[in-house]
C-alpha cells in the first residue's frame, strides 16, 4: 500500500499559558499563519471582522477566539484546540486562558501536554499568573517549558530587558520540578523568532519557536515504564463463531506487553499468562502504550472494568489510604468528611478527604498549614481514604495511573483533580 511519506510524523501536544493580554491568541494565530495553516476563507472572514472592529491590520487572535463573548471582550475564556503541521511534526495546541477564574481550563490542557509555552509581556515581566501557571506545569509534570518573552518590539528589542526577565524566572523555577526550559525573545504580532528569525534581535542565537517545537524530545519513555493496562471493557461476543472468546479491552497506559508475559490482575492478585493481543482481525506479538488493544489470557479469570492487568514482576501500589495534591475547580469548596465519587484510570470508587495537610501559596511557594478551606483554584495537599483500594503509581512516575478526578456526588460536576503523592 502506498503511504504518503511526509505525513508519517509524530504528534506533539502542547499548551500555551500566560496572563491576560500577553498575546497568546496572537502567537497561535502567528504560528498557524506563518506555517501556512490558515486558509483563504478564514483570512477573508478575519479581515471583515477586524475592519468592523476598527482594525486595519488583520487581527490574528481572531483565529482562536471562537465564542461570541470572547470576541466582544477580546479575551479567551475557554480552552480552544488548534491543529497545524509541518513536514516534521503534527501539533495539537491547547490554548488556555490566563484569567484566574479559568485556571481549571489550564489544568485540563496541561494534563495531556508534553510541552508548555509560557508567554510573558516584556513590559510587565513576571506576574502572579506566570508563577501560578509555572507551578501548575510542574505539578502536572509537563516535561518541557518554553519561556517566551513576547512584545519585544515594545521594549526596543532590548537584550538587557530580556536577560533581566529570564534571570528572574530561572531563579523562580529552582523551587519547581521542571525538567527542560528553553528561553527565547519573540514578537508574536510581527512574527520575530516565531517561525522566521528576527532581524531586529541578532543578539539571540538560539532556535526559533517553531524549530524548538519541532525538535524537543517526545516523551517516548511511556512505553518503557512499568506496564499498566486498566481494563476498560470486556468483549464477550457469545456468538457461534466466538463462543468462548473473552478479551479485556483497553488502552495501554504505560509499558509494553508481549504474548507469553506472566501477568497479575490487581487488586485480586490472580495470575495468568497473555495468550493473545488482538487488534481487530490482527493478532500482535507485542503492544505498547498508548495503543488500544484487547488482551486474552490463558486462564478464565474473574476480571472486569476497573481492574488492572500488570506484569507480575512490576506491581503497582494497592492502597485505600492515599495522599495527593488537589487542584480545586468548583465554586463550592472542598468539604472534609463528605463522600465524593473518584474516577481513577477506568475505576470508580468513593473517596473522603480526611484531612487537609497544607495549602500551597503559589506566589511564595510556601506551604500554608492550619487552613482547611480549599476553594476554587486552590491547590492543597490532602489525605483521602477510598471505598476500595486504588491500584496506582505516584504521579511523578506515571501521569495516567497517578492522576484522578473528583466528582460531586449530587451535581456530578468534576470538582477537582488529584495527583497522587503516596
Amino acid at each position: 500500500m502506498t503511504t504518503v511519506n511526509y505525513s508519517n510524523v509524530e504528534l506533539l501536544r502542547f499548551i500555551t499559558a500566560g496572563s491576560v493580554d500577553d498575546g497568546k491568541s496572537t502567537l497561535i494565530g502567528r504560528l498557524l499563519y506563518d506555517s501556512k495553516s490558515v486558509f483563504e476563507d478564514q483570512l477573508e472572514s478575519m479581515k471583515v471582522i477586524s475592519e468592523r472592529h476598527g482594525n486595519h491590520k488583520v487581527n490574528l487572535a481572531l483565529l482562536t477566539d471562537g465564542l461570541r463573548s470572547e470576541r466582544e471582550q477580546g479575551i479567551t475564556i475557554d480552552v480552544a484546540y488548534r491543529y497545524f503541521s509541518t513536514p516534521k511534526r503534527k501539533f495539537v495546541i491547547a490554548d488556555t486562558p490566563g484569567h484566574i477564574e479559568y485556571t481549571r481550563n489550564m489544568v485540563t490542557g496541561a494534563s495531556t501536554a508534553e510541552a508548555a509555552i509560557i508567554l510573558i509581556d516584556a513590559r510587565n515581566g513576571i506576574m502572579e499568573q506566570t508563577k501560578r501557571h509555572s507551578y501548575i506545569i510542574s505539578l502536572l509534570q509537563i516535561p518541557n517549558v518554553i519561556f517566551a518573552v513576547n512584545k519585544m518590539d515594545l521594549v526596543d528589542f532590548s537584550e538587557k530587558k530580556f536577560e533581566k526577565i529570564t534571570d528572574e524566572y530561572s531563579i523562580f523555577i529552582q523551587k519547581l520540578n521542571i525538567k527542560n526550559v528553553y528561553y527565547l525573545p519573540i514578537s508574536a504580532f510581527h512574527g520575530d523568532n516565531v517561525v522566521e528569525f528576527s532581524k531586529k534581535m541578532t543578539w539571540y542565537k538560539g532556535p526559533s519557536l517553531l524549530s524548538i517545537l519541532e525538535t524537543i524530545p517526545l516523551k517516548n519513555n511511556i512505553s518503557s515504564l512499568p506496564a499498566r493496562f486498566p481494563i476498560q471493557y470486556v468483549i464477550r461476543p457469545q456468538t457461534d463463531n466466538f463462543h468462548d472468546y473473552r478479551a479485556y479491552a483497553g488502552q495501554i497506559a504505560s509499558g509494553t506487553y508481549n504474548v507469553g508475559d506472566s501477568v497479575t490482575i490487581v487488586p485480586s492478585y490472580t495470575q495468568s499468562i497473555i495468550k493473545a493481543i488482538d487488534n481487530v482481525m490482527e493478532s500482535l506479538n507485542e503492544a505498547s502504550a498508548p495503543q488500544s488493544v484487547a488482551i486474552r489470557l490463558v486462564d478464565n479469570v474473574d476480571a472486569s472494568r476497573g481492574d488492572m492487568i500488570v506484569k507480575s514482576t512490576e506491581l503497582p501500589i494497592v492502597d485505600s489510604n492515599i495522599s495527593l495534591m488537589v487542584c480545586w475547580f468548583n465554586h463550592r469548596p472542598l468539604c472534609i468528611g463528605i463522600k465524593y465519587i473518584i474516577r481513577h484510570t477506568t475505576d470508580e470508587v468513593f473517596g473522603i478527604v480526611t484531612h487537609v495537610n497544607y495549602k500551597v501559596n503559589i506566589n511564595t511557594m510556601e506551604n500554608v498549614i492550619c487552613d482547611e478551606h480549599v476553594k476554587m483554584n486552590d491547590i492543597a495537599h490532602v489525605f483521602m481514604k477510598t471505598s476500595k483500594p486504588l491500584k496506582y503509581d505516584i504521579y511523578v512516575k506515571n501521569r495516567l495511573t497517578g492522576g484522578l478526578i473528583i466528582i460531586d456526588g449530587n451535581t456530578f460536576e468534576t470538582v477537582g483533580a488529584g495527583m497522587i503523592m503516596k
Binding site: 504518503v4 505525513s7 476498560q232 456530578f412
Partner: protein, 300 residues
C-alpha cells in the same frame, strides 16, 4: 497495523478508547450517522472497538429528505455490512405533521430543522449519549468542544460551563433526562481522516470522487441543482466535473471543481487547497457565530 502512520495510530487508539468509554459509561448510546466521511470513519472505528462482538449501539440518521441518493444507498449497505440497527429521524415527517415549518425563499434549507428532529429522537428513544464525528479543526466553536460534551434536558450546550477533562478520564455522569454528545474524532484533522481512509482502504460514497453533475453557482460556491432548489434569475444549472469535500444535505453542501478519482488524488488536492473544508458550507455562513448559535440550541 504496521503500515499505519505513527500519528494516525495514536489518533485511532484515542478514538477507540473514547468509543469504548461510551459503551461502558452509558446505558443507551447511539451513533449519529450522516453518511459523510467522518461518520463513516466513526462506523469503522466502532466496529474495531468491539470486534468480534457486534457494535453495541444503533445508528441514527437525521434525514432532511433533501439527500444525495448516493448517500442513502451507501448508508443502507453499511448498515448491512456492520449488522447494526438504523433509526431514522425524518424532517419530512415533522413537516407533514405540522411540528415544523419549512423555510422559504432562495436560501431555504432544512439544516436548522434537523436540530428539532434530533432532540425529539433523543427524547423519544431515551438515548443518553450520542456519538458524533465532529472534529475540532472544522470550525472555531467546535475547537472548544470537549470529548464528552454535557447537554441539559433541552439539549443545550453551555460553553462557559464545560466540565474539565483531564488525562484520559471522562466524566459521563448526569441527571435523568440530560444527555451527552461525544466526539471521539476531536483531535483529527481533515487530512488525518483522508489518510486513514487511504490506509484502511475504506470505500466512500461516489460523491466524494469526481463525477459529472448539474450544478449552479451561488455567492461563489457551486451547489448541486435539484428541482426543489429555487434559482435566482442570474443562476442557471450547468454540467461540471465536481466532488464533495463534506456531505451535508443537498441545500447546504458546496461542491469543489475537481478531477480527483482516487483517495490519493484527493489527498494531494487537499494538501494544496487554500480553502477550509467548511468554506463551502452555506449553513456556517449565515452569521459570524452561526455555528455557536446552532450548537447552543442542540445541533450536532
Amino acid at each position: 497495523m504496521s503500515n499505519k502512520s505513527l500519528h494516525i495510530k495514536e489518533l485511532e487508539s484515542e478514538s477507540i478508547y473514547v468509543i469504548r468509554e461510551v459503551a461502558s459509561q452509558f446505558e443507551k448510546s447511539v451513533l449519529l450517522f450522516s453518511g459523510g466521511k467522518d461518520s463513516i470513519v466513526m462506523a469503522y472505528l466502532s466496529y474495531k472497538a468491539f470486534y468480534p462482538s457486534p457494535i453495541p449501539f444503533p445508528f441514527l440518521h437525521i434525514d432532511t429528505g433533501h439527500n444525495f441518493e448516493e448517500t442513502i444507498i451507501y448508508r443502507d449497505k453499511l448498515i448491512t455490512q456492520f449488522d447494526v440497527k438504523l433509526c431514522i429521524g425524518s424532517v419530512q415527517d415533522f413537516i407533514d405533521s405540522g411540528c415544523l415549518k419549512e423555510e422559504t425563499g432562495y436560501d431555504a434549507s432544512r439544516n436548522k430543522l434537523q436540530t428539532t428532529v434530533l432532540l425529539a429522537m433523543i427524547e423519544k428513544n431515551r438515548f443518553d449519549a450520542a456519538l458524533g464525528g465532529a472534529r475540532r479543526d472544522e470550525e472555531k466553536v467546535r475547537a472548544k468542544e470537549r470529548f464528552f460534551s454535557h447537554r441539559d434536558e433541552f439539549g443545550q450546550w453551555d460553553p462557559k460551563n464545560q466540565r474539565p477533562e483531564l488525562w484520559n478520564i471522562f466524566n459521563g455522569k448526569k441527571q435523568l433526562s440530560e444527555h451527552f454528545r461525544v466526539f471521539p474524532l476531536s483531535n483529527w484533522t481533515e487530512m488525518d481522516i483522508w489518510q486513514y481512509i487511504l490506509e484502511e482502504n475504506i470505500k466512500l460514497p461516489s460523491l466524494y470522487y469526481t463525477h459529472e453533475r448539474e450544478v449552479f453557482k451561488r455567492d461563489g460556491v457551486w451547489f448541486a441543482y435539484y428541482p426543489f432548489v429555487k434559482l435566482r434569475s442570474n443562476e442557471r444549472p450547468v454540467i461540471k466535473r465536481v466532488r464533495c469535500r463534506t456531505i451535508g444535505d443537498v441545500t447546504c453542501t458546496g461542491l469543489t471543481l475537481s478531477e480527483a478519482h482516487t483517495t490519493e488524488e484527493i489527498i494531494s488536492e487537499i494538501a494544496v487547497s487554500r480553502i477550509t473544508e467548511r468554506g463551502g458550507r452555506f449553513d456556517d455562513k449565515r452569521s459570524e457565530t452561526a455555528m455557536e448559535d446552532r450548537k447552543k440550541a442542540g445541533y450536532f
